[in-house]
Structures are given as structure tokens and as C-alpha cells.
Amino acid sequence: MAKMSRLRRQEALTGYLFIMPWLLGFLIFTAGPMLFSLFASFTNYDITSQMRWVGIDNYRRLFFDDQFFWISLGNTAFYAVFAVPLSIAVGLTIAVLLNQKIPGQRVFRTIFFLPKVLTGVAVLLLWLWVFNPDFGPINTFLRSIGIKYPPFWFGDPSWAKPALIIMSMWGAAGGYIIYLAGLQGIPKELYEAANLDGASPMQQFFKITVPMMSPTIYFKLITGISAALQFWEAALIMSEGGKGGPSYSTLFYGLYMWQTAFGDYKMGYASAMAWILLFITLAITLVQNHFSRRWVYYEGEAKE
């Protein structure tokens, strides 16, 4: 028995040694920084001068005195509300189309995956050029179909966000992969039975495909919203000097936080913004988790 426990102890020690890279990384780069950031959010920290405790002043100013806080939150909410459901629709539509036996399937799959490969600054600059109001192909096309004054896109406060959403739909096309995997797992008998009952393709889609895919859709919803709340890097690259576009129309929450922290070095204030973002993310996740019980269907789960 004593020997056994010595072996156990040795295994435990080895286990800790193996996970040490993660454990240290967690303490040094995640947990420690987060505690520091929580503390800093109650101070006027600016790196150079002495830290001074200001209580909840940063939070109070954000909520009551800072219009940019609300503008950036509104922009981010706008982006999330449109981009997330649309990207799920795009990915699911492509997957449904590809799930049929169609000639050239492999070619299509490669093409649709391309947006996942073409990423980085280069692609964002490309979109600036595609949306160029004077020489870009989009406006040329719009003019050719009789629209005399096509939008200025990234130069127009009311079109800058839609342009970014169109751009991210392009990227969302590559998301079909995960839905395709899910679709192939749906038993064929379900559709055969529905066919016999005379259900239309639309009915089949909403009564079979969507419920069977609901865990995947739910998952994409959670992660998609979390990612949308952090959408700002594209706006940093695409708006001149990262100032948030015309009339602050692309001043997203993350971009405003970036400027506050690394433009103005108001680290305490920016930390307060970071924690508000963390709470918003958590709150949305919890709310979704609550409502998911009504519509997410897990196989093997007793229901009705």
C-alpha cells in the first residue's frame, strides 16, 4: 500500500511538471494581469506617475460623462446584431448547398475556404480598394445598373459599418466547414420519413435541419457574439490612424479601449473598460445559456 501511494505521488508530481507551462502561463499572463487590471481600474494609472486610488470614478465617468463609451458600445452592438446572425446564415446556407451531390464539389469547397486562408492586413487593404468610391469595382457595378450616387462606403458614417459587415460575410463563408460536418451527421431516415409525409423542402429545413444543427448553431452564436464584441482590429487598420472612421461610425469598443490605453496611456480608465467588456460577455453568455434550453436540441436528451 505504501508503495502504491508512492507511485501515485510520483505520478501527481510528474503531472504537475507536465502542466507547468500552462500553469505558469496562466498565473503570469492571465490571472496575475487580470487581478492587476481589476485593481488598476479603480486608479488613475498612466504608467509614468504614481498610481492613485480613485474608487469607482472611472466607472462613473464611463457611464455618465463619456459619450464615446456609449458611441463605441452602440457601434459594437450594431456590428454584433447584424454580423453574427448573418454569418451563421451564410455558413449554414453554403453547407446545405454543398451537402448535395453536385459536380465540382471539391472545387467549390476549396473556393469557399479561401477567405479563411486570405487574412491579415493585406486583405483589409484589399477591401479598402474594392470599396473605393471612385475606382472600386463595387461602385462601378452600382453605377452600371443605374445608381447615380453609390455610397462612399468607408467615407460615409452610415455606410462604413455595413461595408465592414459585408466584408466579414466574405470571411464567414469559410465557416461552412463546421456546419457541413454537422449536416453529414443527420440521419437520412428523418428526411425520408418527412418526404413520405409530404413535407416541403422549407419545412424539412426548419423542422429537421435546424433542430438537428441547433447545438452547432448555439455554439457559433456564443463564440460569434464573443468575437463580435472584440471586433475592432479591422477598424484600426482601415480607418485612417485608427480614429474610428467618419463621425466615429467605426469607433468600436475595442478600438476606443486601444486608443484610451495606448494612445492616451489612461491605463486605469482603459482597464475599467476592459472589465465592463468582460461582464457584458459573461452576461450575454449566461442569458443565452438560459434561453438555449428552449431551442437547443441535444440527441439522447429526453424531450417531450
Binding site: P21, A122, I177, T223
Partner: protein, 294 residues
Amino acid sequence: MTTDNLPIATTRRGGTGSRFIDRVGKFMAFVLLVIISALILFPALWMLSTALKPDVQVYANPPIWIPSPIKWENFVQAWTLAPFTRYTINTTLYTAAVIVGTLLSCSLAAYGFAKLRFPGRNILFTILLSTMMIPGMVTMIPQYILFSKLGWVGSYLPLIVPSYFAGAFFTFLLRQFYLGIPNELSEAARVDGANDLWIWWKVMVPLSKPALATVAIFTFEGTWDSYVGPLLYLNSDKLYTLQVGLQFFRTASEVQWQYLMAASILVMLPVIIIFFAFQKYFVEGAAIGSGVKG
């Protein structure tokens, strides 16, 4: 002809009618797929077209899709307008260092979580999972303060060192893979007197090559394309990566789109080549990756 057949088809008694509907459906799906493909390819083709244009044709209205003459020398020109050779060397070394760190640390930690028993393992693993939900901005500000206090700003250390401390997502991914490897293999090695480090290196690592390849490719793509980190920590032209260089190349002078597009293609080229060479791992990784992370 078509309208004649449709009412029969909607009765859905099988037979020719429903097969016809099926074929119409497939044809419509095919047409839709072609349209979507065109929409996806069009920005990429526009990029290529612009990159090959003589400057007068760049600002032609209506736009010219096929440049004449085709200016291949735009690529050379673009490369020499900014110190891209240095940027490429910087980016390559940086990316290689991050890939090595990620593979080593994540597979070690994944082995620990998958194959060894120790008190608190489940709690620690739950913590690992929950850290994936933390927005990057929350840790970015204090990490910057940490690195600036250490005097690391203006070097590659803040960009490389954290990758040697097992990021949560790839550790999770590799652990899932290791769980699927039967314990008998490592037990046999253990009976022969092998220790866990040996088992990890000689049994787990060779068996998990496909999973490691996926991690390596995704790390490559993510690091090669990263912009905000290098922008934040690198503060001289000597150190810049391709992504930072590309963005400055755009803002520093009057934009010459043909050169900017040519440079953009060159910057993306390694990722494109690796994609076509290792497509399988890319697609598999994306399926696992988006299945867990989005």
C-alpha cells in the same frame, strides 16, 4: 414542360416527379454555388488584376480587369519600396520561434491533462477552458504594463515568450487528441521502464503528428498575420514584421494601389502555398477549431 411537371412533383409519391424536383433543386443549388464562388473570388481577382496594372490603368473608370501590358515588374518595385526583405526575415524568425514554443508547451501540458492523474486536475482543466472566454483586451493592457516594466518593449520577447507557456486553446485541442490514444501503448513502454518524458516524446508526439501539424499550421497563420501585438511592441523599422510594414507602407506615402496590392500578394503568398500543400490539415483544423472556438 417545367410547369407541367411541378404539380405532379408536389404530390410527392416518389416516382419521376420527385426525382425531377430533386434535379431542379440540384441545378438551382449548383447555380447558387457558382454565384457565391464568383462573389468570393472577385476581391481576390481584383487584387491580382490591380497588382499587374500599369499606373494609368489603376485609376481607369470604368475599371479594367485585364491589364495590358501586364506589369510583372510591379512585384519587384513593391518589394523595394519598403525594406520588405528585412520584414520577411523578422516575420519568419518570429513565426518559427512561436511555432516551436506552442508545439512544445501545449503538447507537454496536454499530455499531463490527458494521461496523468493528480489532485486538482479537473478544477485546473475547467479553469483552462474558462480562460478561453476572456476577451483578449482584458489581459492585453496589464500584459503591456508587465512587459514595459521588464523593459521588453521594443523587442520580440513579449511576442515570443508567452507562446512557451501553453495557450489554452491548443492545449485543449491536443488533449482531446491524446485522450483518443489507447493507454496500452504507454503502459507497455512504462513496463519496459520508460518514464513519462520518454513516453511523451517517443509515443505521443509521433502518434499525434496530424494534430501537431494542425496546431503548427494554425499557429503559423495566426502569427504570420498578427498585427496588433507587433504594432504594440515593436517600435523601430528594423524590427517590423510584414503586416506592420505593409500597413505603414500604405499610410507613409501616397497610396499607389498597384504596388500595395502586389506587396499584399507577396505577403500572403507563404500562407497560400502552405494552404495548398496542407489543405487537409487546414480544413480538419478549421472544423475542430471552429467547433470549439468559433
